[in-house]
């Protein structure tokens, strides 16, 4: 993975010193709340229900064992020994003290970690495919490009006060696992007929109050122009994005208002001045960065390890875990392992310091010392020898990291919701827990099969509810928590936005409603159909009737 050089270290250290001074001035009353807000936000620091929440960056989801240990140490030393992994590869600490944040950042900087631009109206952490570099369907490794974008966007002097946040995702594989179509800027690595690398550029996607899929601005942007084109695009957004209404300030609103063609024309006009300028990428720079993502020193193994096959035959629990949590690897004899951060009774994405340390140990012993954070809020060991899987499974189980439920209903995605987040209209975690409890039976879960269920506590959609085959959105009705259900959402190449099926449910009704929806699926599915496939085939009406067994209930759509 990318190793800092003296420049990178110096920049991050300077940020620590800068934020230490800003915090000191705020606590001394020299900076007002309004002045401090954008400064602390661009350092990932929110003021939440229980006090400050600090969001730490995991650039493009890649983290070393030493860095994960540092997270564990920071969570134990300055928080309550637990951290929350988010859908954008970050780690949130919910119980830090403001006065201690500068020291936390200083500790993190020792391991090349920081909280730079994890919040605020700036260019945020770039996200990518959690199987980058090991996926069999990869066109090219997206991580060098993500790192180049990280550097370009870090402390960009022109773009620190954008109309609103700006999120970039990049995928290098044929199957999009980075949800690029729901980002402000989505980049798909492609090759032209000559084999030259470039990017298909999507802009204006996003969830939130106005869920929209990104539109294609360019089918092929040659790699040399990645930074100059992005700079042109963000400049157009900075100059012309709306600033009068925070809900209409994202780039998607500008793209929608101007129309894709006009917006694209404005970007091209701006780009015509920047193209081939100093920010044009060079072969030398690509080589320098790409060298840091070289494949580890794989051993030569048989494609199928005999002991592994024996364990698969003899140990049903193990084979179930392998079926759900182990993915194929492009190198024979290796596999990618998902360490699940989902289980009934714990918030999805939560990891204790002990779990982080256990995961770091596993990475060091079995996966070249690196891990990934997935946008499904799990940790991934990307390079595990197949013959070690049985041991890894035992050790992961001992650390409660081996729920064999990846892609199943218990692997649901949820934001922290009203228990922690000041923006939320409703709590997410009790609903998540009630659903996980209802479907705790493993046989039942495996029978239901792949099902993406996403929960957001408000319209900001941090739980990506629009992308769930089943989405749940918390809404506030006269001070009470209600939950809208959307169906038909999907991420990936055929991304689509789920639609609300009818009136909202009270919290206590949600597990029953979900069970009725799943009952309708089980009753109608053809062999090998996933929930979403059956939904696509038979349409919404069957599910709506199942969700609202008393027809008069479905007529009102609460809170739109």
């Amino acid at each position: 993975m990318y190793q800092y050089d003296d420049y990178d270290h110096a920049i991050v250290r300077a940020r620590v010193a800068q934020f230490r001074d800003q915090t000191r001035r705020y606590l001394a009353g020299e900076l007002s709340d309004d002045e401090f807000r954008p400064l602390r936000l661009q350092n990932g620091l929110y003021i939440q229900r229980h006090g400050p929440m600090l969001r730490l960056a995991v650039p493009y989801g890649l983290i070393s064992a030493a860095q994960l240990r540092r997270f564990a140490d920071v969570a134990r030393r300055y928080d309550r020994g637990v951290g929350h992994f988010t859908t954008r590869h970050n780690l949130q600490l919910n119980w830090v003290k403001l006065a201690e944040v500068p020291q936390i950042l200083a500790d993190l900087a020792r391991d090349e970690l920081h909280a730079i631009q994890t919040s605020g109206n700036c260019i945020r952490n770039v996200t990518t495919d959690h199987f980058a570099g090991v996926a069999a369907d990869e066109i090219a490794d997206p991580r060098p490009w993500a790192e180049l974008l990280r550097q370009w966007s870090s402390f960009h002097p022109e773009f620190a006060y954008l109309p609103r946040k700006f999120k970039v995702a990049i995928s290098g594989a044929t199957e999009d696992r980075a949800a690029i179509q729901v980002h402000d800027l989505g980049l798909q690595v492609v090759r032209d007929p000559a084999g030259t690398i470039g990017f298909r550029v999507y802009a204006g996607g996003g969830l939130g109050r106005t869920p929209l899929l990104g539109q294609v601005l360019r089918e092929f942007l040659p790699w040399q122009h990645l930074l100059s084109y992005t700079e042109a695009l963000v400049r157009v957004f900075n100059r012309y994005g709306r600033r009068d209404n925070a809900y209409k300030a994202r780039i998607k609103i500008l793209v929608k208002a101007l129309g894709c063609e006009e917006f694209s024309g404005q970007v091209d006009e701006e780009w015509s001045h920047l193209k081939d300028g100093p920010s044009t990428l060079t072969d030398g720079e690509i080589a320098r960065v790409a060298a840091q993502f070289r494949a580890p020193a794989y051993e030569t193994f048989a494609a199928d390890d005999l002991c592994h096959l024996a364990h698969l035959r003899e140990d049903k629990a193990f084979s179930r875990w392998v079926e759900r949590n182990v993915q194929n690897h492009k190198v024979p004899g290796y596999a990618a392992v998902t360490l699940s951060l989902k289980k009934a009774g714990a918030a999805p994405g939560d990891a204790s310091s002990e779990q982080m340390e256990a995961a770091a140990d596993l990475a060091e012993r079995y996966s070249f010392g690196e891990l990934r954070v997935s946008h499904e809020q799990n940790l991934i060991l990307a390079d595990v020898p197949q013959r070690e899987l049985y041991t890894v499974w035992h050790r992961a189980k001992a650390a409660s990291l081996a729920a064999p439920t990846v892609g199943l209903i218990q692997d649901l995605i949820a934001c922290p919701g009203g228990d922690f987040c000041a923006l939320a209209n409703a709590r997410s975690l009790p609903v998540a827990a009630a659903i996980q409890e209802r479907f705790e039976d493993l046989d039942y879960q495996h029978d239901i099969g792949e099902l993406e269920l996403n929960i957001s506590g408000c319209m900001n959609s941090c739980g990506h509810h629009h992308l769930g085959a089943i989405g749940i959105l918390g809404v506030d009705k006269n001070g009470e928590e209600w939950y809208q259900i959307t169906l038909g959402g999907r991420q990936g190449n055929d991304a689509s936005i789920g639609e609300v099926i009818g009136r909202a449910f009270a919290a206590a009704e949600v597990p029953d409603a979900i069970e009725r929806l799943i009952g309708a699926y089980l009753a109608h599915r053809h062999a090998d159909e996933r929930f979403i496939d059956t939904f696509d085939r038979i349409g919404e009406e069957v599910f709506r009737q199942a969700a609202y067994p008393h027809p008069h209930q479905s007529r009102r759509v609460a809170n739109g």
Partner: protein
């Protein structure tokens, strides 16, 4: 005591006055006080010949100030007339002025004084300087002395900018 601004990284006296239109006042009717003035775009357009005459007759240098929504493309042809171009930041969260500055410096070749004023302070100076501002009127109630320290907040930057056109990747020691 004369008003002070930050220029060339130190505090200096400043004689420029900002002309504002009162609500509804036609730009053509605005009264122009003696001395160097920063006028809004509408006044520049309405009274251009009059302002240029002041320069010829009295040696009064010309200045203009831009609001966040002003398109510099509208005054691009006149840029060489100005000794000072000032950019207003009514709210520090409104970052349009940062793009304005880079365009003035990098696209339109403006090499006169580029001044930031409004809701800015110590914590904005580093970026403002990088996008091309070289003069700063620190906002009400904020310390200008304190702001002087901010020019060196970071020892290095990844991107090219109005001061250093080359991004770090073109300057990294091989």
């Amino acid at each position: 005591m004369a008003k002070q601004i930050i220029k060339e990284r130190r505090l200096q006296d400043d004689a420029w006055k900002i002309v504002n239109l009162v609500d509804g006042e036609p730009a053509i009717d605005v009264c122009l006080p003696v001395g160097p003035l920063l006028v809004p775009v509408s006044v520049w357009k309405a009274k251009k010949s009059c302002l240029i005459a002041r320069e010829y007759e009295h040696g009064t240098p010309l200045g203009i100030w831009l609001a966040p929504e002003d398109n510099i493309e509208d005054i691009a042809a006149d840029i060489d007339d100005f000794t000072v171009i000032a950019v207003h930041f009514p709210k520090l969260a409104d970052g349009r002025g940062y793009s304005t500055a880079r365009l003035l410096r990098e696209r339109h070749g403006y090499d006169g004084e580029l001044r930031a004023f409004g809701d800015i302070g110590r914590d904005q100076i580093f970026f403002l300087n990088r996008v091309g501002f070289d003069a700063f009127v620190i906002g009400e109630g904020k310390s200008a002395e304190d702001a002087l320290a901010a020019f060196d907040d970071f020892p290095e930057s990844y991107q090219g900018d109005a001061v250093q056109p080359l991004p770090l990747f073109r300057r990294r020691a091989a």
